[in-house]
Symmetry: C2
Subunit: 546 residues, 2 copies
Amino acid sequence: MTNPEEAIAAPAADAPAEAPKAPKAPKEKKEKPKKEAKAEGEGKKSGGGAAAGGESKGLGLRNSKKDNFGDWYSELVVASELISYYDVSGCYILRPWAYAMWEVVQGWFDQRIKKLGVQNSYFPLFITEDVLNTEKDHVEGFAPEVAWVTKYGNSTMEKPIAIRPTSETVMYPYFSQWIRSHRDLPLRLNQWTNVVRWEFKYPTPFIRSREFLWQEGHTAFATQEEAEREVLDILELYRGVYEDLLAVPVTKGKKSKKEQFAGAFYTTTVEAYIPETGRGIQGATSHCLGQNFSKMFNITYEDDDRQKQHVWQNSWGLTTRSLGVMIMTHADDKGLVLPPRVAPKQVVLIPIPKASTAPEAVQAMLDKVDELTKALEDKGVRVVTDTRSNYTPGWKYNHWELKGLPLRVELGPKDMDNAAVMTCRRDTGAKEVVPWADVATRIPELLETIQADMFAAAKSRTANCTETCHSWEEFMAALGNKHMALTPWADEEEIEEEVKKKSTTPDAMGAKTLCLPFEAPPLPEGTKCFYSGKPAKNWALWGRSY
Amino acid sequence: MTNPEEAIAAPAADAPAEAPKAPKAPKEKKEKPKKEAKAEGEGKKSGGGAAAGGESKGLGLRNSKKDNFGDWYSELVVASELISYYDVSGCYILRPWAYAMWEVVQGWFDQRIKKLGVQNSYFPLFITEDVLNTEKDHVEGFAPEVAWVTKYGNSTMEKPIAIRPTSETVMYPYFSQWIRSHRDLPLRLNQWTNVVRWEFKYPTPFIRSREFLWQEGHTAFATQEEAEREVLDILELYRGVYEDLLAVPVTKGKKSKKEQFAGAFYTTTVEAYIPETGRGIQGATSHCLGQNFSKMFNITYEDDDRQKQHVWQNSWGLTTRSLGVMIMTHADDKGLVLPPRVAPKQVVLIPIPKASTAPEAVQAMLDKVDELTKALEDKGVRVVTDTRSNYTPGWKYNHWELKGLPLRVELGPKDMDNAAVMTCRRDTGAKEVVPWADVATRIPELLETIQADMFAAAKSRTANCTETCHSWEEFMAALGNKHMALTPWADEEEIEEEVKKKSTTPDAMGAKTLCLPFEAPPLPEGTKCFYSGKPAKNWALWGRSY
């Protein structure tokens, strides 16, 4: 549906005078930051909560996922009412359709970390300069991106105050006060907050923004073993968010030294991959901080022998980026394709009376819609009904496809005769007749099938995009194919830097290690590093990346 | 319990070597901002998540609610582990015990506004100077308190960027883009965020801080009538948060012109009152913005006659202050007293073996604790068990009293013989024997009784603190009694300013109107303003205030 002129049904004949207007370009000054905004498709809309208006333009996307991915994505997130561009560059508005999905992610993850014994809390947005500077590697990693408050009203602050880019240095001075005995351990805190990183990489809605929402967990343990167990427990939850909730396949692994979190002992990660751009993307990271921060912040406990010991710490974070990865993975040229488990609404019920349908028959149809809605809601299905009389069925189909609803349920005169509904899957377009009597059981099943099929399809796409490479030629060929490269590697930072430089082309950024995957082929003795020819220490997954 | 030396039980004989240490004073530099920190009582603690340590000091409060309220409050919020003072003045850490209550408030309110049709969203933290300046009255109200970001890394920003003190000006430029037709209305958004107001009034944990958490609702309607209906719907929910959830009585009313929100058409409020300090406190406000902002931000819709109309807008907010008001209302010299509905844990179950109890009998007791816990949890009761062997029952009683748990349930050898438990209410100290067979029904009942009794007691305390005054002498006498004054009033801003000046004493701030209460006595024609002698226009509730 790259030609919106053809794809969009005109409003029905009974459309009121103020029928949907064509979208207008956003006001340049207010809406469109100069650098990153592209082909937004944002405009005025009509109809309670409807997307861009009807007439002969406005629904459907002008860009295609295959041909111009970046423009397609920018247009999509605005047209589907997830995002509005904001007049502070690199900041975005999360509109209700996006925020509702973030609430689903929050609910899923929050419940599970609480079961693990993690408690929520809230630490301030601000950090003093002295505290921020406590851990050297850490602050060096973040310093260039830190935003500073220097004024209030018309006055100048005595000392500038940083806005948190992450909260290690906010929290750990207090960890050192709260922890004394081994019985104060483990201390496991989490917070759901905004953070600010004044980055200058190309900002992209969800994927990279200067302010973003996340959860950050910060925990302290008596032993390395306990800390390391939690690192993997959390990583498994992050896998769950991506694979089980968002239907996005990820690779679990460890980051190379060069790519790990500033100040960490080591970083584990779930890495996703966008086939269309051939770029990997870091999904979420779970860091073992070791005793690096506890030594700097003097966080100690007395062990059974009354000896002071530094605690072992972790930190771990998942951001609104996860929604961006999900969108990029599943959406198509008609709009969003939302996995049922994260979709704010899973089913749209559309009655389709004909112009010739008698009023009583229309009423019977509407009553049946209500009845089916209730039956589905009783089963926990999130349903929306579209009974608006001033839009054609075709316009509605396009609208709800743009919004990504997993399943459309139509109820027309023929369906009324047959005591059934027609269902249509967003992911495959497959249609299925479901008798009324089966709606409350079959539709939840269909939603689970859609969820599973979406994940399987994404997994198969990604699996076809990894090439095992033993030489530089194979490596560059894989990148050229927009694939990831799995290579034996000598695990040396200099190699990673050289590879990045040498793989940079006029058209594409250099490749880096995405992770050292936990699941990898055997590495027989004598296997050589694909780049240096030295003995390989491990397998590394490489790719261009976000 | 003002003398902690006497009040605290020594640790049991079997306390391990690293028995609770005496609290240490917080590190001045890190923990205690010079101006506002007082008698914090914060120190090192021992025992998994326990409060300040045992020995001969540390539990119980040094200050009393009656004698030195301010010190008592500051000590209480730290000792009960709600708050830690932070090294940026006016910012506080919300520890898990506090944050869990905020989550209860969020859950209660969020569910209800969603039922009303409000949707959650997230708008950026930052505002450009131009946008902030759009509504003149509004910006004048906030300008002195706005914090400005002027730097990132080592660079200076082209233009300073404000941190939101509230989000009217963040959101409304987008309202003007999203709203076109009357079918785009109502638009009802909410967000749960942090905001920053760099105030110089005395900061107090929860009550007044430079960063705080809140929800802010922002809505737009076609008609004044719909907008005004929502103002009151939301105000009723705010009353519910205070009265039904936090057991804090409030007075609903309208703010005077002088006290209303900067830029509002009018402001409605729920006002609470702290008898010990004789000060009123604004609980939450629901503003009708009228068309003030829609005219400035050009937010219009086309009506049925294709005429452009400015929308009617509301904004409304509830903050973490609500928890502070709840604490001040109910807590006593032993610590917090939490209303069951908001308490993170409602019941503590404590087995009390004697030194002479045989091991099998101890095990039977522990098994019974598990069984009762499960029975209560199945009824939705939030239970904690305290089976630690290195603390005495007395120490545990004091600890859980400090934390404010509504109901203590003891299980000793005698109770085992009688197949019953002994319950003890935190609010009244009343004890009641409950047979095991009745635990799962009687304890939820008791919790509801505690909730109701706490509200009734607070309501009666407040009701005794309002004096109807018809003259200046009566008015000053009421203030002298630490009471609020309900007066007939000519409703003139100059009177309010004069009253504030004239009622200021060397020891006490001046009084202002808290609200014009919705429920007030009749105002017969000819009634005169208590201050000016002019014809009274309405009843006003006055008081010193937070």
